[in-house]
Symmetry: C2
Subunit: 352 residues, 2 copies
DNA sequence: CTTTTTTGCACAATCGATGGTGCAATCAAT
DNA sequence: ATTGATTGCACCATCGATTGTGCAAAAAAG
């Protein structure tokens, strides 16, 4: 019946079978047939044939001809935390809704890898690229620009194209205020009892730290230099920093501002090596929301970045290439301890 | 200098510029030039020119010709939990190491969407597909088979091709034993004090439930039917089930077996509506590991599925198409409360 | 019954890379 | 010097879909 059920049917196969020219078959199947004045009955015939032979268009050929692929890319630093995984989840939903195919890749926060990954995606003629949390957004920009690829920065800003990021300064302020607010006025926090851990020398960290400092100075009157410990975005370096602090001070600070949930995992590693009592009076503020993190045995205040808002805004802005690059701030939300928020998964239907 | 720095250079451009034929240029750039007896000096010349003009091969054209794309696909149900996000992270690392390009998509546990997603990926001529946690693996198999695409099941097994999954029965047993073991012999658990929540009618849930029942009967002597509540894989249906139980019984069971971290989030939602005291003597066993979940204020025993092991095995088996389909079990690990394990992120280098 | 207009479709070039084949030029062998 | 082998590369068809163009046949206008 079929020539080789193993090989996919092409427009040429359908052309042979129907005696209709390949170009007409193509027009019918890609929807341009009205414009080409193809008879309704011919179209019908071809559609039936296509269905019968399970025709699907070869996207490589289509992409080659059209020089676009229908693929929309999202480049993430990593997958494995709730902030970035919800970013991927939300992104997917948006792209699918537009009838395109999402493709997500990670680039490990390595500038070199970021550029290579972009090159690679470009070689597949992706239509748009969302650059999320890139260490060197402008480097990636060069690559995209050279290929005429629409792109936009998310989470960490660049200077060469629009960026949609959290309002990290405001977020830093809110979180710091909330942490300090947890302490009663009869037992107030002293400046050296509130430390910041995690992050590195990127825009987000700098802004959060700036917010932290401003609020700390305003409310506690001082901000010793030693209370800031950027440890990079890894659990282990954070753990080591906590251990070091503990060694030196004999205890943890009463209050911690942790720069990301990844760094928070460093605190978990520290915790597993120490008894409960070490954390009896600890208050943690964490920039990033993780539902389980919110229910730990001590008060954990979290900042939830508005992923849905950022993605939505990014989709609007990626079209906008006439105006000069701008940074768009999206306000994050303060999440009180013991709070279970809904997420992108809640939109899915569930079958039992 | 360049004709249009906006359009990427092709082998024809390099051909024009060098006076060397396109086929020779192609051979040099794709590495087959020795086989074609191209002079070293010619190759050198072309390589230099390619470098100078930032040539990168057009993968669509290459894919069209070769009918393979260099893309390796991973289909996930969802991104947004630590099990699947670590799956994506680990998968990426493996694919990159093989010099291919990973592409990850999610299909929302919807059989229809699973098949369409597969079709879609196939139309991009992906080389291999890893089908993870599919609701209808055999449906996806048909699609892959028809296209002659190598594929393999992970996490949930199919009957038509090899599957690599957790040893859910053993895992269910281990977890149930561990939960029961938390209760002292002077205050032992009664059968109706241990309930299972979450999961649906899939292979993984069934096996875990079977393990749960077997151990429960062996150790506690009975297993009332009502103690099993499959709620689907959504936080909210799980929350509702907890609420319902609480309404009826006036309290939660002393011990819970929760079928996945997604369902565990349903417990968090329940918790946020109830005071701490409700959970004072609760013991939870959760199938899936989440580092933050491990540190909640009550004992949480978790099963970590061996993602690295599963991916590694899957890569081995995907080549193996001669032997009849088999299910390969990978043993998960029991994680005691308050344990922070390292994950795929720990392999990345970190720059501060 | 012509001429003009419209309808319906076929033809052929093109996108960029690949690989089988063939043909000069160079070199080795007799 | 003639034949045969080897080297080095160009030519061209091909992968599957798209799209500008052209041309008959049918329909409408005169």
């Amino acid at each position: 019946m079929k020539k080789d059920s193993r090989k996919k049917a092409t427009i040429y196969d359908l052309s042979m079978l129907s005696g209709i020219s390949p170009s007409t078959v193509s027009a019918v199947l890609n929807g341009t047939w009205r414009k080409r004045r193809i008879k309704e009955s011919t179209a019908e015939l071809i559609r039936d044939l296509a269905e019968k032979h399970q025709y699907t268009t070869n996207r490589q050929a289509q992409g080659l001809r059209r020089s676009r692929s229908g693929l929309v890319g999202l480049m993430l630093p990593v997958y494995d935390n709730r902030y970035f995984s919800s970013m991927a989840q939300t992104f997917e939903a948006h792209v699918r809704q537009r009838g395109q195919c999402p493709i997500v890749v990670s680039s490990s926060r390595d500038p070199q890898e970021e550029r290579e990954t972009a090159e690679n995606l470009i070689s597949y003629s992706i239509d748009e690229l969302f650059i999320c949390g890139a260490t060197d957004p402008d480097g990636v920009h060069e690559v995209c620009e050279a290929a005429g690829l629409k792109h936009i920065n998310i989470d960490l800003p660049g200077t060469k194209t629009h960026s949609v990021i959290s309002d990290n300064y405001e977020g830093g302020r809110m979180l710091t205020e909330a942490i300090i607010g947890r302490f009663a006025s009869d037992d107030p926090l002293s400046p050296d009892e509130l430390s910041l851990f995690g992050g590195r020398n990127d825009h987000a960290s700098r802004e959060r730290i700036r917010g932290f400092r401003d609020v700390k100075r305003a409310l506690l009157g001082a901000d010793p230099e030693a209370s800031i410990q950027p440890t990079g975005y890894s659990p282990n370096t954070a753990r080591i920093a906590f251990e070091a602090f503990f060694e030196k001070a004999g205890r943890l600070p009463r209050a911690l501002f942790i720069n990301s949930s990844i760094n928070f995992e460093g605190l978990l590693r520290f915790m597993s090596a120490h008894p409960h009592e070490t954390f009896a009076d600890l208050v943690v503020g964490c920039y990033d929301y993780d539902p389980f993190g919110s229910f730990l045995p001590f008060p954990v205040i979290m900042m939830r970045q508005d992923v849905e808002g950022m993605i939505t805004k990014a989709f609007e802005l990626i079209e906008e290439t006439r105006t000069p690059p701008k940074i768009h701030l999206i306000r994050p939300d303060l999440v009180p301890p013991r709070t279970a928020l809904t997420g992108p998964l809640d939109g899915l239907k569930d079958i039992v």
